[in-house]
Symmetry: C2
Subunit: 240 residues, 2 copies
């Protein structure tokens, strides 16, 4: 549950707002200017009641009997997500993953601005990526201060993550997106979101195991590539 201004928004609702925003922007691109809770919900992969409930925490945006204006709902959600003010971003750890994240092109379009890359490896420092020169992590405090960084993406090895996170927090950063598979121990007011690819695969493996345990007790995948399929009705697949 997150308080913003007067109102309180469930964390689960906040986590879905980006989906709604994406769906709305797709609609804009397609030239659609009015939509309904059911259309928007389907495109976002949630139920329509869920979508209406979620929006109701933020206010009242639709017209009964008609639906939602794509443009205005879109800009309202963008505003709620704080995408009006530009968020200045640094990436610490420019290995495989950090490098890929640096080259991600969608930051600007979504109100983010990548302003610094940092790494500890001397063979990476000085290299250029995404129009920025990689700086040494020793300079972290100076760089984050000078560039007025307010958000950090952590893509260091797990062993370095806690120490780097502490330094980042000491620089005043309060929102961190971590790709390191460790539980960061940080002050309560710091918001950490954590993405763990290996963990996601393990969760999928659990589902696979559950399926196999259920159906037939068999050992491996029960069917080859060319077997009749279940009717491809649209389903709500579990996400995050």
């Amino acid at each position: 549950m997150i308080e913003i201004g007067e109102v309180t928004v469930p964390a689960a609702t906040v986590a879905r707002l980006p989906y709604y925003l994406r769906a709305l922007r797709d609609l804009t691109r397609e030239g659609v200017d009015t939509t309904s809770s059911s259309e928007l919900a389907e495109r976002s992969g949630v139920g329509s009641a869920q979508l209406r409930k979620d929006l109701s925490y933020l206010g009242s945006f639709g017209t009964r009997g008609v639906g939602y204006d794509v443009e205005s709902l879109s800009s309202y959600i963008a505003a709620a997500l704080g995408l009006g003010s530009e968020h200045r971003l640094a990436i610490v750890g420019v290995g495989n993953l950090g490098h890929a994240l640096a080259n991600y092109s969608g930051y600007a379009a979504r109100g983010f601005c990548l302003v610094a890359l940092l790494d500890a490896d001397p063979s990476v420092v000085g290299r250029e990526a995404a129009g920025l020169v990689v700086e040494h992590v020793d300079e972290l405090e100076r760089v984050l201060g000078e560039r007025d960084v307010s958000m950090v993406i952590l893509a260091t090895p797990g062993s370095a993550a806690q120490a780097v996170a502490e330094r980042v927090v000491a620089c005043g950063v309060r929102e961190i997106l971590s790709f390191s598979p460790v539980a960061l121990q940080l002050p309560d007011d710091v918001v950490v979101r954590s993405v763990d690819v290996a963990g996601e695969l393990q969760i999928l493996a659990f589902h696979a195991a559950a399926r196999n345990a259920q159906q037939g007790d068999g050992v491996a995948r029960p069917d080859g590539p060319s077997t009749p399929r279940a009717p491809a009705e649209v389903g709500k697949n579990s996400v995050t």
Copy 2:
């Protein structure tokens, strides 16, 4: 809620098992062979009651008054996560991100085996990465069949994701990890986990906006790099 064998495990519990497993493996590496719910919980970033409750869905592994044997709990969780049988993995979309995911070194150690890379871009097809040659996505059905792929990582552009996902599902794959920011419409029995970096940043931006709205109504970040900090007590930061 997920049924496996006789029992039913909450989805939220399953999503935490990888954290517990990671913490246990860290303990093993440190030579610790007995632990308690509170130590393990702290290392995993959850509460100790939560951890005990989670484990209780899977069975009863500890010794009252003593704690848990690191080794046996570790292998039990690994088994529950289906990491006994090897999961054969393909990556579709070898751009920035797909390439980084291909070079991720942790698959083997976690019971996964990367066996194919596919892309639609002729300038990428034929290149080598992670010891594999990138094949053309036209060959998807053949490659997935021949290599007995059971899980797919989707790292294509959003526009291609739905079509590729349908083909992958038609090959019998039932677990997909998607990095494309679209809600895939697939049969109910397909499990999709979705990682959306831009979405994560937007959620962080919401938190930042909430913080700013609360404290002082100010415009930007209220303090510079060198301000006295809150007492760095350990907190439960929100994760996924």
